[in-house]
Every structure is written in structure tokens, then in C-alpha cells.
Symmetry: C2
């Protein structure tokens, strides 16, 4: 649930968390966003998220008329008011209030502070199963609000008792609906290099992995799943979650692997010191 909220730099009263119906984000899906969270009651890696948000805005030709300092200041104000010890922080930039249903206007810029749940310990311990699906996100390097393919498949996902969808295209593994995907083979940490949204957690994990392992950003073939020793996913709130199965393919011995556990520990340690 949204706990506090600002629209175009103005903090909204609790009974006015609304936007006019002619916003182009709603009418034409013309919007980009980003989503980060707190750690130790502070925004975690906010500058990195802001850089990506600004890049998405530029690539979608949406003007963001606020400096990083202004945005950060509003985020801190909203967090304080929210009184949430652990929170999600959403930044959303839309094509604005259109006069004719199609022509963009001055962008609307929303910041929301939201309740956020921790990933259950059993998930982190035992790992998850994924469902493969042939799809590459449109303009994958931009964090747009287009999640229609993922949401349309939600019942299929439940039926298969899978945790999330693993997108692949032309035999290449890409990403999950809101996470990046890694495999481990012979102590090398491997993840897709292109046609994905480059996660902030993905980059953090790559940086941490480099201290201990060989790291490869490259094309990752679906066929490599059968040979992988381990696999995991990364995400803002998910941190690192072991992946033990994709469709019928068991990964390694079907349990959370040693390298995955090491990286998880390194990530948690890094987060503590942030």
C-alpha cells in the first residue's frame, strides 16, 4: 500500500492519492518508473536508481524537471512522514495530462512510499522454480511501465506453481519479469549482457562477485541451464534468491548452491555497511 506520496514536488494529503484520468501513463501507457527500497532506514543505492530513472526518461523523451537533490530531499521527507522502518520508493514519470488523448503535455512526476514485505526465509533457503517464456521486453533497456505480458500470464504461473517467469528469445536467456538471472558454471558467474533491463542489484552482485570469482556478461543460451552448477535471480527487494528449477530442468543438484550462498552473504554484508 502507498503510505505517502508526492505529485510534481508537492506532498499530497492522504485522501488525495489520485491522478486525473487524462494522464497519458494511464491512457497510452506512456510512462517510465523506477523502484528502490530502504536499508538501515535509509534509501539504498538511491543515486544509482536516480541515474537509471533519468536515463529511462531521456530514452523515452520525457522531461524530468527535478534535480537529483530535489528528488532525494522529497524522498527523505516522504520516508520520514511514512514512519515505515522498511519501505519501497517508487518514482514514476508520465506523459502528462493530454488534451486530445494522445499528445503529450508537461510530464507528471510521482514519488510514492510503499509498504514492502521481506522475502520469506524459506524462499531464500530453498530456492524457487521458474517458468520459461519466449519473449523479449520492448525497449528492454528502458524501465517502462509495460508489464502486460507478465500480468497476463499470472494464472499460468500459478498453475505451474512457479515463482516467476524467465524470458528467453532466440534461444538466449534474458531476464525475469522484474529480476535478472545468473548461472554459475565452474565457479564462473554468468549473466546476460544485452536486451535486458540492467538491474541495480545485478550490478552490485557483479561487483561483489568479481572479488571472488570469474565474471562473464555475455549471451547465455537456454541450453546452458542443463550444464549449470547453480542459478539465482537478483532484484531490488529480492536481493539474491536461488533458482533450483526452470520448467522441467532441475539446476545442478536442485538445491541452493555454494556460490549463490556466498554471494548472498556478501550482499547482505555490503548492505549492512551502506
Amino acid at each position: 500500500m502507498i503510505v505517502t506520496c508526492a505529485l510534481n514536488g508537492q506532498i499530497l494529503p492522504a485522501d488525495k492519492y489520485t491522478i486525473a484520468i487524462n494522464d497519458l501513463g494511464l491512457l497510452r501507457g506512456y510512462a517510465i518508473f523506477d523502484f528502490c527500497r530502504t536499508a538501515n532506514k535509509k534509501p539504498f543505492l538511491l543515486p544509482q536508481y536516480l541515474t537509471r530513472f533519468r536515463n529511462s526518461a531521456r530514452l523515452m523523451d520525457l522531461d524530468l524537471d527535478y534535480t537529483d537533490e530535489q528528488i532525494t530531499c522529497t524522498v527523505y521527507q516522504l520516508l520520514e512522514t511514512s514512519k515505515l522502518p522498511f519501505a519501497g520508493i517508487r518514482l514514476l514519470l508520465t506523459g502528462g495530462y493530454t488534451a486530445d488523448g494522445f499528445t503529450p503535455a508537461k510530464p507528471n512526476f510521482l514519488i510514492t512510499i510503499e509498504e514492502l514485505s521481506l522475502v520469506p526465509e524459506a524462499v531464500v533457503e530453498n530456492g524457487v522454480k521458474l517458468m520459461g517464456y519466449a519473449y523479449q521486453r520492448e525497449m528492454a533497456e528502458i524501465k517502462t511501465t509495460n508489464y502486460m505480458v507478465a500480468l497476463r500470464l499470472r494464472k499460468q504461473l500459478q498453475q505451474q506453481n512457479a515463482y516467476d517467469i524467465l524470458y528467453h528469445s532466440n534461444g538466449n536467456i534474458l531476464e525475469l519479469t522484474r529480476s535478472n538471472f545468473f548461472i554459475i558454471k565452474d565457479n564462473t558467474v554468468i549473466t546476460a549482457a544485452t536486451n535486458i533491463l540492467k538491474g541495480i542489484t545485478r550490478q552490485t552482485v557483479l561487483n561483489l562477485a568479481e572479488a571472488q570469482y570469474k565474471v562473464e556478461e555475455r549471451e547465455v543460451k537456454l541450453a546452458e541451464l542443463a550444464e549449470a552448477d547453480e542459478a539465482f535471480l537478483t532484484g531490488t527487494n529480492k536481493k539474491i534468491i536461488p533458482v533450483v528449477q526452470v520448467d522441467q530442468q532441475i539446476i545442478g543438484d536442485g538445491k541452493a548452491g555454494k556460490v549463490t550462498r556466498n554471494l548472498y552473504q556478501a550482499f547482505v554484508d555490503f548492505e549492512k555497511t551502506y
Copy 2:
């Protein structure tokens, strides 16, 4: 501009044309819509639009808990209140108010009545130039709210002094951003059969054309533009507009063609009798 509006069957007061910020149409682009207009002060071909809207909802796994009769009744009420002699009618169905930013809830169903401008006579007389772009809409047969590619290219479109974008993929002509595309060759009326949104105006024009011409729904190659005698686009408010140029390619003699004019007249006559 939106003149009157109903949300989930309730007509909204004029100062409350808003939706809560946690609507999934806004946050995750999870929404379908349709758009029709009046003719002779009545909704034009509304049953056909409702059929398509319902089909989009079903394909996107969004529940529409209103009968055609209920929707039609609300549309008439809103039109009457709007006092608009000529109006656009938008139906929008979203994934609802999400609790966690991703999980769908009970869908929100919006109906809006909007001011609509007639296409300038000069455009209908002289025809328009299009800009080609290699792209196929995601889930093209569903009328989703995803128009990001079109909106992102708006400045490029202006620079090229083009009226709209003609999407093509693998050498096949598909559709425009919000219109269908036809060519005429040797008195045969030809349009793409698949990987497009099948317009209500497209189907009406095909029906009218069959009385006078040979009609083909099939793959249309980009290379056929050079050999075409005429071309035109169809759309809900655009009716039939001649296309005289695509990028550097002049179509036929670069003027609105005879078959196009005939079909335009047939369409206008049909509309008058509706």
C-alpha cells in the same frame, strides 16, 4: 478534453475525474481500451466496438463485469449530459487498485466522453505522407494502452513532416499507430491480414469495397508500395484519408486516387444512413 466520465458504472462529478495512483493501468500499463465516436449524434457502430473491447479484455485476462446493455446505457447517459454534438467515446479497463504494486485487483472500468475534432478537409483532399518504422505492436490483435513506441517517435515524425508512422516488420506492411493501411493495385483493394489490430473502420471499408472491387486480406510487402496505384488509411475518426507518400516513396501519381475517393464517398453515405 474529457467532458463527462463514469467509473465502474457511477457517473463522476466534474471535479472528480480522477483515479487512485495505485491503479495497475498507471503503475504497470495493465489495461485495454477502445475508442469510438458519434455519428448523427448517436454512437456509431458501438456494438462492433463493444465486441472488440470484450475480446481485448478476455485476451488480457481482465474481467469486464458489465453487459453490453449496461455499457450502452451509461454511454447514452454520458453523451446526453455532455451536450456534445460530435464526441469521442473511450472505454478503458485496467488491472484495478493493486495492494503491492503488481498483483491485479478488481478491474476499474472507465467510460469517458471527449471532445473530438473533424479531420481538416485539406487532409482528406490532398492526402498525407507517412514515415515508415520497423516495429510490430506487442500482442497486436489486442487493443492495449501500449503506445510508447509511437509517442517516443513524435519528434522524429514532426521533423520528417509526416502525418503518422507506418509500422512494418520483416518486409511486411502492418498498420499505423492508430489506423489501418490499404493499397490499391489494378482496382484491387489490399490490406494486411495478420499481426495488426483489426479496425472497425477497416472492416466497414472492406465490406463497402466488396460491392465494387476485388478485395484481398493478405501479407502486404513494403516493396508493393512502389507498384501501388493508390493508398489510404482508415480510422475511427479519420474515416478514410489518402496516403500519397511513405518516406521517399511517392504512391501512384502522388495524389488522392479514384478508388480512394469512391470508397470515401461510400463510407460517408453509409454513415449518413446509420
